[in-house]
Amino acid sequence: MTENLKIPKQAARQYPKPPEGSWTEHYPELDTEPVSYENSISPEFFELEREAVFKRAWLNVGRVEQLKRKGSYFTKDIPGLKTSLIVVRGKDDKVRAFHNVCRHRGNKLVWTDYPAEEVSGTCRQFACKYHGWTYDLEGTLTFILQEGEFFGIDKSKYGLVQVHCDVWKGFIFVNFAAEPEQSLHDFLGPMITAIDYPFEKLTQRYYYRGDINSNWKIFHDAFQEFYHPPILHGHQNPVMRQTDYQDLGFYTSYFQAEGPHRVGSTSGGAGGKLVPEFYNPIEQVMRSGLFGPWDPSEIVTDQLPPGLNPGNKKNWGLDSFQIFPNFAIVFWETGWYLTYHYWPVTHNRLLFEANAYFTPPRNVRERLAQQLGIATIKEYALEDCGTLEATQMGLESRVVTQFPLGDQEFMCRHANKVINTWVADYQQKQAKG
């Protein structure tokens, strides 16, 4: 048992860094200077970012399990682009995405009761609530009421406006560009496409969402560094209250960036391996907590799925993959995963989504362990939400304009750099015409 007591110390130990001396300096495209967050407080930058990033990058909008059979659909609002999509499985089983706008007079085509809320279901066709124009599952306009009253109208020219759509490992991505600059596979690149995880087996889904008064990048940054948890979340449970964590801080065991994407891996050490005094009573009763069940799910074997633990570190606990621009997948050692989406609404508001995916519980005990795991997500995330609204206020004062980032904030620095690069690249292309 005394051996177990040492685990927090190990977690606080500094892991070996690349030969350059730091993760940051390992990447020549990054410098070590203080950074500016003007890109997170400027309405003008936000307008640019919509065009340069959100209309050019591949964006994840959901998973294929949400489209179980032919005719299954869901709508997905993209608030920062002021648009809504219909994502649907066609008669040919292909997943397509369309703008959710009727070609007649622009009514939002698919919604129920509240025009601003997302819906899902199964249907054979989409009929507009306004004048009844009807589209098939492939987006073709099939019916115009009193068609003879229109002037030489050609139905084939009035199909739903399609959006580029492709699927990787069951994740449905869209791209709003007229012609995407890269295929989804090339965009994801080798680090992400190396991941071969049995996503299709984790069908038990919990979905959170929140509207938060902060720039999406400022918010995202708190989920791509492990520098803040011992402090901001330092009261959550006895592990977090450990003086080792609070005095020495927490060290990420591995960072990697590739193209616009990045990953951070950390050691395990929680998950029921410590002495009971390190857990809240409910955690001990339900064998779960920060974050998720202590007992491995049925997908866990002695071999990690390909692509995980890319740094090949001992005591692997989790990988937090950040897929540019606003999507993250977090894999946990006990065999479940989380996704986060950070959707900009305005320059200082975001829609934050968190999905947790588990294997279907085989009994009440497993069900409760999942429920406690997802409950901790909220207790942590709400602490982040409150604080990041405060950070946004501090930044918007513009009293301070340059901010030092440490090596533990490698992923924040990389993300900031990539956004600025994409925007600069877009501006250059625009200037050339």
Binding site: R205, Y207, P281, I282, R365, L368, A381, C385
Partner: protein, 110 residues
Amino acid sequence: MANLLPAEFSDLEPFVADWCLDSEPERYAKRLSSTMGEIQAFYDAIMPRAEDAMVYLDRFPLDALPEDAVRLLKLLYSLILMSFAVEVWKQPYIPDTGTAQFELKIEPFP
């Protein structure tokens, strides 16, 4: 009238009306609208029975729980959310969270 809870847990029936809630937003709203005294009384009643309740509930397949068992399970879902108020925060709300909202919109049942 059928019992609200399985016979072994009939002493917990007074908690059913207030604490058997269908969704996470309802449970969280209940936490915020309750006094620490009310939350503590609920926690003190359910927590010592949680292990027994799990043993009892595991006799049934998850997708075929009788109604009284589902109520018992819902008490455990409420226990999870209330435990943070009792064990961590010593108050119903999470400190420093202001008006931020973060709600569970899709939650499996049971």
